[in-house]
């Protein structure tokens, strides 16, 4: 992707121009071809629909930056949701939610320790976690749980002015998370680890601890996504969240992250989320038949990354890397 380095007050502001253009183009096309697109209802829907993928994508990004991957996020969403919904009967709602998020943090930490301390392949560790955590969600409750307390729905339905609260939460995660990655030593270390872990180790930085941190952040985001989703849908289901990881990873990669680590940005991942949500929304607004939706969705994603790619200076070498 073309990156224009613009210097503002001595700081590097990297504007991913082509990508921003692309998203703008998508929005313009949407606005001009579908009457419904620019309605308040639809825009509010868009804002709500990006929350889950957005939260998961940010957590995923942090893990991907280290050169890892977290396949377990969908299961963590289910677990955190069902546990929270279950606890609402006995605990105050905020506390129940805290437990849900905490479970996500705990799962993330376990993933991180297995990857960092025991040097196991992230793909297999988190695939195993995907299976186990999903199982645990069912062990907790085989049947969906609908908390009767209407207060439980507040989080998912509250609006702050024209913007849904949950969207603000997601934006805050991207904002704070982006600053974490760009401007704090641990954030920079996580990126550097993905670039060259040995270099970071030789610089006297505890690589393992940072890897654990990355997975923990991903778990935290997934836990948060779980309670938000439950509150939004109004009912927790142990089977929710299957294949959520794929969209989250796709968002990161569409946004320019490299699965071998070291490259990627919060801004980019957010753009990737926008692209995915816009594609879904558009296909629905056009009333494309569902199977054709799938066909088109894949083709559009390819087109999007092709457009990004042609904007990038051609390298002489071929990598063929994930």
């Amino acid at each position: 992707m073309t990156t224009l380095a613009v210097r503002v007050r001595g700081r590097d502001v990297t504007v991913e121009a082509a990508f921003t253009l692309l998203i703008a183009a998508l929005i313009v096309v949407a606005a001009t071809t579908s009457e419904s697109f620019l309605t308040t209802t639809n825009l509010t829907n868009l804002l709500k629909q990006m929350v889950t993928t957005g939260l998961l994508a940010f957590g995923m990004l942090v893990v991907i930056l280290t050169g890892g991957i977290d396949l377990s996020v969908g299961s963590v969403v289910a677990f955190s949701g069902i546990v929270t919904a279950g606890l609402v009967a006995d605990l105050p709602i905020p506390l129940a939610m805290l437990v849900g998020v905490a479970s996500g943090i705990a799962f993330g930490a376990v993933n991180g320790v297995l990857v960092a301390r025991f040097e196991l392949a992230p793909f297999v560790v988190t695939l195993a976690a995907l299976t186990t955590i999903r199982g645990l969600a069912f062990v907790y409750s085989e049947v969906p749980i609908a908390p009767t307390d209407p207060g439980f729905l507040t989080l998912g339905s509250a609006m702050v002015g024209p913007i849904p609260l949950i969207t603000l939460i997601m934006l805050a995660v991207f904002g704070i998370g982006g600053a974490f990655l760009a401007r704090t030593p641990p954030g920079r270390s996580i990126i550097a680890i993905g670039g060259n872990a040995e270099t970071v180790r030789l610089a006297g930085i505890d690589v393992r601890r940072h890897i654990v941190l990355a997975y923990t952040i991903s778990g935290l985001c997934a836990g948060l996504a779980g309670i938000i989703l439950t509150s939004r849908v109004g009912i927790a289901q142990p089977s929710v969240g299957v294949a959520f990881e794929l969209d989250a990873i796709a968002a990161c990669v569409i946004g320019g992250a490299s699965l071998s680590g070291g490259r990627g940005s919060a801004k980019g991942a957010f753009g990737g989320v926008l692209v995915l949500v816009l594609i879904n929304n558009l296909l629905n607004l056009y009333g494309v038949q569902s199977f054709w939706q799938q066909v088109l969705k894949g083709l559009i994603i390819i087109a999007v990354i092709l457009v990004q790619r042609t904007r990038r200076p051609r390298s002489d070498s071929v990598k063929g890397r994930a």
């Binding site: 849908v233 089977s239 929304n281 569902s290």
Partner: protein, 290 residues
């Protein structure tokens, strides 16, 4: 103007499918669309949530953005979908549920089968026909209440029979023929002495039938399914060991659902819950459903 809610000359109806990628559900979607065609003034917009409850909510929101006149939710994910129903209610649109009834929440009308009754029906048929070990193949996952209702129906009959023991496959068949096949293979390895198998849908039973045939136990084990999938009807008609199924026709339900929705839009007073009967299909009557 004179055009009051529900008094338009043409309608757009949104169909929110929970999961289209099963013959039953795609059949439902197609039946609704086909019936809409016959009306001439009804346009259908259909969405697929791919089995994801949150996506269903999002799709419902998208449909409301398109300002559809009513929404049909097919194969709802859960006992309830409060957020989706609330959104529809806030938009003051009618919502008709097909297949799965919600235990809670407000909806305009529901049309679907009585899954427990179908299970019972299969159970009674098997009780009359076999003695010994009967296996159950479930679709999963564990929170799927449709499958649960069918299995519970079956169990309510068979568990009272002293000459029948029930064994439940430990893993799920995922509602597909390939899953049915694999689960059956596992069952046969552990329980070579089975006399019958009940599957929560026909697709799994068709796979299970293959596994039984491969094991050379076609003469020993009979199969009972649910749905009335074409291949199952043919197997029953051909006099194979596939002996019974219960009709759960997406065509019938889909047609009724569209009619019901149009009626609601026309301002008619309608029945809230409609159970579509699920006749038992055996060799004797299979030809009339094919």
């Amino acid at each position: 103007s004179e055009e009051k809610a529900g008094k338009k000359d043409s309608y757009t109806i949104g169909v929110a499918n929970f999961l289209l990628s099963g013959p039953y559900f795609s059949g439902m979607d197609a039946a609704i669309a086909a019936q809409a065609k016959t009306k001439g003034n009804v346009k259908i917009v259909s969405t697929d949530a791919g089995g994801d409850a949150a996506k269903l909510a999002a799709n419902v929101e998208d449909l409301l953005s398109k300002n559809v006149d009513a929404i049909i939710i097919s194969g709802g994910p859960l006992e309830s979908a409060p957020a989706a129903l609330n959104a529809i209610k806030a938009a003051k649109k009618p919502v008709v549920l097909v297949d799965r009834k919600f235990a809670t929440g407000e909806y305009t009308s529901w049309i679907g089968p009585d899954n427990e009754a179908i299970g019972k029906q299969d159970g009674e048929f098997l009780a009359a026909k076999v003695k010994g070990k009967v296996a159950i193949i479930k679709g999963g996952p564990a929170d799927n209440s449709i499958g649960l209702a069918r299995t519970n129906g079956l169990k309510s009959v068979l568990s009272t029979k002293s000459d029948i023991t029930l064994v439940e496959a430990p893993d799920f068949g995922n509602w597909g023929s390939d899953g049915g096949l694999t689960v059956m293979e596992g069952l046969l390895a552990k329980h070579p002495d089975l006399v019958a198998v009940f599957c929560e849908n026909d697709a799994m039973c068709l796979g299970a039938q293959r596994a039984i045939a491969s094991a050379g136990k076609t003469n020993q084990i009979v199969l009972a399914g649910v749905d009335g999938q074409a291949e199952a009807l043919k197997a029953i008609l051909d006099g194979t060991n596939y002996v019974v199924t219960g009709l759960n026709s997406p065509n019938v339900i889909g047609k009724l659902a569209l009619d019901r929705t149009v009626d609601v839009l026309g301002g008619a007073k309608v029945e809230k819950d409609t159970v579509v009967p699920s006749p038992q299909i055996t060799k004797d009557n299979a030809s009339q459903y094919l």
